[in-house]
């Protein structure tokens, strides 16, 4: 049987196993199989593989607390966790009445500690409430050191003194005071740096607009999802307090419509709490509502402390209460809450899960002081803690700290600067520094370029010092590797030279892991780096020659490492890194060093695999038929040799050869439509200017055979050149001058979906180039999916190529791009738009 027939049959064998062939295909395959032993064998082996797959596929371990955790996160989205959720397996709720569609967790919580709104506990709550209202000092005067509560936790009962000091007579007065002093927007402005230890953090490290980057539910959290129904816990508290609740103005608070409030407001500033004052809303009403919420928060906080520290509390209730404590954002009570949680670390040695909860809660507090506690707790010996508990505690501390760092860039920066700065004074790497560096390195992956310059430079300085000290212990190497990766993650091209030097350093004086990390970092830098960062290079509008040279030197450095480094791991990483840098030089380097003689074995084979993958990545992005290329790599690359000449002849589009049009998008297009986003978001950080420069450059490179048209769009479309016309010199210069006059429209939204539909309507356009920052008013992921689906549908007939030029600008923009949900959605949308329509996403 000819190989040709077998090759056609082979792809059908897989579907045949599943009975997914059409009748005709089935007949053809059956006939062929009867005659072809080779294909019979092939089918047999495939069936065997599928059987192995099905019988031996790994399964995850059972996660008993998944639902509980989910419920917790869901209820985090409501006020103080007082939300109705159903927790079917929760013992806490036994014996409690069903309340319609769900049951009240906190009622269960309260019930579980046999809380009866009795005088004693109410007195604690009221006293604490008063204390909090007056400030931390007052609290301490009223209750003594709250750590005592944990001490008493050890001995059983709440101390009588704690109860006796509650002062009921002042309570109403204080409640009123809370009401008067509460700010309409809660405490959102000074989230991370408010308390005493935190005040050391430099305000300059707080990027502009940070106040809007809040964890869901923080700040004006009490407003988020406050249910019109009074919380039963509150009711109980008020019952215990007397009739004060009648004096509190009853303000109806509308629950948030939808769930937008849970997204980081940085990405969606309008999505605040339910109480965002509207111009028409009297401020007094807002203040009253806020006061009521703050009061609820204070009382609830008091109760949670009480549950957390009471010996009588059931373990699950205590754990939940401790976790919830980490979520309060009550500036006057921050230090107090931290002390309570830190006290918990000391006194909960016998209750490991509650201790872990205390770690987690500290991580959720998003304060530097809490983070420091975590670093020390993670490293400390832990009084009376078993080795196992100590180990898990350290782990929990690390996770909590990482969580805290991920929440806020400032925290990551602070940890970085604080723990890295002393490095050059004391060459010995302490465990704390190592820990911090690793954490920061992890955090940077997400925070990326949003990190303060200071922290990044600190990392570079530390790296330089350690490098010069020629240290070689394992820990040092780990620290160095972490720092190196950090530099890559920050996408700051200014440190590119250092990374290049590290890759090229004499291998005998540098641990392989550092060179590997440097190669990886260069790949990251090449992929995401802000080449042409104006502050560094003074990039001119007419090009980036300097930047291009620097990127080329990165590629040549990686290319050298790929073929010459003595360590296989470094060679492989260099090959992978090359695949992430979408320039012609990367392609050339990979092609030039593909093996030419079979068989490829051993280490060379693994490296070859990396090279093939990288080639796939690079060409898959630009080639019009990535599938074809992918198949070739998959079939030929895995078993035989992929000859550079084959790649060149068959797969690489012609324009890559010339290299000139690799980034000059129109390339082979005969007609191209440029779409320029002029919506409100483009007004910021010079994005509009950048986009216009890009567009002008592209128009300039058009040849006279290409027809082009230009539209500017936001929530409407402005057709500068409605229908495609040949790119004559005079038309080009007219269009360039009109493009230069364009201004972004204040307040205008981005109707990407509509304009793309319009542009993909029947016409004579075979290529669309979209210049945008991708920020638009989508409905989250669902919105992105809708846009993609709609565009895909409209383009399914025309099959136009859609290239996207992502206009990302400046550090804060990049931060938004990478750090927030919306920014992430935006890049994701642009990437998928381009790739789904045979195009290419290019970052500026």
């Amino acid at each position: 049987m000819s190989n040709e027939v077998c090759d056609k049959i082979a792809p059908l064998l897989s579907a045949r196993i599943d009975g997914e062939l059409t009748h005709g295909e089935e007949t053809a395959v059956s006939l062929h199989l009867e005659q072809c032993a080779g294909c019979q064998d092939r089918l047999l082996r495939l069936q065997g593989a599928v059987a192995l797959l099905k019988s031996e596929a790994p399964a995850p371990e059972d996660s008993s607390d998944f639902l509980a955790h989910l419920h917790r996160r869901l209820s985090e989205q409501a006020v103080l966790g007082f939300s109705e959720v159903s927790e079917p397996d929760d013992d806490l709720e036994q014996g409690l009445p069903e309340s319609g569609s769900g049951r009240l967790r906190l009622v269960a919580l309260a019930g579980s500690v046999k809380w009866r709104a009795g005088l004693l506990r109410t007195a604690v709550a009221a006293g604490l409430l008063i204390g909090i209202a007056l400030g931390v000092r007052q609290v301490e005067r009223g209750f003594g050191d709250l750590r005592e509560a944990w001490t008493d936790f050890g001995s059983g009962e709440q101390p009588a003194s704690t109860v006796a000091r509650g002062d009921f007579s002042e309570e109403r007065l204080l409640l009123d005071r809370v009401a008067v002093e509460s700010r309409p927007n809660g405490s959102s402005g000074d989230d991370v740096v408010p308390e005493e230890a935190d005040s050391e953090a430099s305000p300059s490290m707080q990027p502009a607009g940070f106040e809007s980057i809040q964890r869901p539910g923080d700040g004006n959290r009490p407003g988020n999802g406050v249910e019109p129904v009074p919380s039963p816990l509150m009711a109980a508290v008020e019952e215990g307090l007397g009739s004060e609740s009648a004096d509190v103005p009853q303000v109806t608070v509308e629950p948030l419509v939808g769930s937008e409030g849970h997204r980081p407001p940085a990405a969606e500033p309008e999505a605040g709490g339910a109480v965002t004052p509207t111009p028409s809303e009297p401020s007094s009403v807002v203040a009253e509502a806020e006061a009521r919420r703050q009061r609820e928060a204070l009382v609830a906080c008091a109760h949670l402390i009480q549950i957390a520290t009471s010996k009588q509390s059931q373990p699950e209730a205590r754990e939940t209460a401790i976790l919830d404590l980490g979520d309060f954002d009550l500036p006057p009570a921050r230090a107090l809450l931290r002390d309570v949680l830190v006290g918990g670390l000391d006194h909960l040695a016998g209750a490991p899960s509650a201790r872990l909860a205390a770690f987690t809660a500290l991580g959720r507090m998003r304060s530097l002081a809490a983070a420091e506690t975590l670093v020390h707790a993670g490293l400390g010996s832990g009084r009376g803690v078993s080795p196992e508990a100590l180990r898990t505690g350290r782990l929990a501390a690390r996770r909590a700290l990482a969580y805290a760092c991920l929440q806020t860039d400032e925290l990551a920066c602070s940890v970085a600067t604080r723990y890295l700065a002393p490095l050059d004074k004391d060459a010995r790497v302490t465990a704390a520094q190592l820990d911090a560096a690793l954490l920061v390195s992890e955090s940077f992956g997400r925070a990326g370029p949003g990190l303060a310059r200071e922290a990044v430079d600190e990392a570079a300085r530390a790296l330089e010092f350690l490098q010069s000290a020629h240290q070689s212990s394992v820990d040092d190497s780990r620290l160095l590797s972490a720092l190196v990766r950090t530099l890559g993650q920050t996408a700051a091209a200014r440190h590119g030279r250092m990374l290049v030097d590290l890759v090229r350093v004499d291998p005998s004086s540098c641990h392989w892991s550092i060179r590997e990390a440097a190669a990886e970092a260069l790949g990251t830098l090449g992929e995401n780096g802000t080449w042409g960062d104006s502050e560094q290079t003074g990039r001119q509008a007419d090009g980036g020659t300097t930047d291009q040279l620097r990127l080329d030197s990165v590629v040549s450095c990686l290319s050298g490492a790929m073929r010459g480094d003595p360590d296989q791991r470094v060679r492989e990483m260099a090959a992978i890194a090359l695949g992430r840098i979408p320039v012609v030089a990367s392609l050339e380097a990979l092609l030039a060093w593909l093996p030419t003689q079979a068989p490829v074995t051993g280490d060379r084979r693994a490296l070859y695999g990396c090279q093939s993958t990288s080639l796939l990545l690079l060409t898959g992005q630009v080639h019009s038929e990535p599938r074809e290329w992918s198949e070739l790599v998959d079939q030929v690359g895995a078993d035989g040799l992929l000859q550079p000449s084959i790649v060149r002849e068959k797969l690489l589009p012609a324009e890559i050869e010339g290299a000139k049009t690799f980034f000059g998008l129109p390339g082979q297009a005969s007609s191209v439509l440029f779409l320029l986003d002029i919506s409100d978001s483009m007004r910021h950080e010079g994005k509009m200017d950048l986009a216009k420069r890009q567009l002008v450059r592209m128009i300039e490179t058009l040849d006279s055979h290409t027809r082009f048209s230009v539209w500017a769009f936001s929530d409407s479309v402005q057709r500068l050149l409605p229908t495609p016309r040949p790119a004559t010199r005079s038309l080009q210069s007219r269009m360039i001058s009109r493009v230069r006059q364009l201004r972004a429209r204040q307040g205008a939204k981005t109707r990407l979906e509509q304009v793309l539909q319009l542009s993909l309507e029947p016409g004579h356009i075979d290529s669309v180039v979209l210049l945008t920052d991708g920020l638009m008013e989508t409905d989250g992921l669902a919105g992105v999916e809708t846009v993609l689906e709609q565009v895909g549908f409209h383009n399914s007939q025309r099959r136009s190529v859609l290239h996207v030029v992502g206009v990302f600008r400046g550090e804060s923009s990049l931060h938004l791009d990478r750090g927030s949900d919306q920014g992430h959605l935006a890049t994701d949308l642009l990437r998928r738009l381009a790739h789904g329509n045979k195009g290419l996403l290019i970052r500026n």
Binding site: D18, L33, S101, E227, S259, L438, A482
Partner: protein, 219 residues
């Protein structure tokens, strides 16, 4: 009241009906609905994600995020798709993003004790695969399941997701196509590719497993 307590309980409603009712429901009612949906689907979803991303903690985190997104977007649910399709599509996208991002992240893991690499025995399957794919090392692995898991993780994610959906989660081609938003033909070719990928590597590295591959071809 979107969930009338006198009528059917949320626990008794089909998935799609629950979501349809979320359109006019309050936040707390949606939480209840999502709680019910999570109860029904979390096990299968975590298993799917685990097999796709290769790490159980990541799988759980992604599943959590998926349900949170369901919660956030519940009011926008359209009846054109089955809930499970919608859920898996969200989860798949999250997982793909995670995979993409994790390639950019340093490979040192926070989940390992920091006292030294020696303690980090619990490497996830993907790291096992990435760090030492040599045939000998794999052949020596006692745990076949782990080896299979590692091999699955080596399949490029575009193909892997199809393999996990069709072969491990027993979705039909049509269901997988709907979940991933591609055509059935694409599923067919990607599955072929994924299986081929797996088969080749399994044959290279798991030769010691003599039991599979035996059988008869039905023609």
């Amino acid at each position: 009241m979107a969930f009338d307590r006198k009528s059917v309980l949320p626990q008794e409603m089909p998935d799609e009906e629950l979501l349809v009712r979320c359109r006019d429901a309050s936040d707390q009612e949606i939480r209840v609905a999502v709680g019910v949906l999570a109860e029904r689907h979390h096990g299968a979803l975590i298993r799917f994600l685990f097999r796709f991303v290769g790490q159980s903690t990541t799988a759980e985190d992604l599943a959590q995020e998926a349900f949170l997104r369901v919660y956030r977007n519940a009011r926008k649910y359209k009846e054109i798709a089955r809930f499970s399709t919608w859920l898996y599509r969200i989860a798949t996208n999250l997982a793909l993003n995670e995979i993409r991002n994790s390639k950019q992240r340093p490979r040192l893991s926070l989940s390992r004790p920091f006292s030294g690499p020696d303690e980090g025995e619990q490497q996830p399957a993907s790291q096992v695969a990435a760090s030492d794919p040599g045939p000998d090392a794999l052949a020596e692995k006692r745990d076949l399941r782990q080896a299979v898991g590692a091999l699955i993780q080596e399949i490029p994610e575009k193909y892997r997701v199809v393999l996990v959906l069709c072969d491990l989660e027993d979705r039909s081609y049509a269901e997988a196509a709907e979940t991933l938003g591609v055509k059935v033909g694409t599923i067919r070719s990607r599955l072929f590719r994924a299986r081929g990928h797996f088969q080749r590597r399994a044959e290279q590295r798991l030769r010691h497993v003599a039991t599979w591959g035996e059988g008869r071809v039905s023609t």
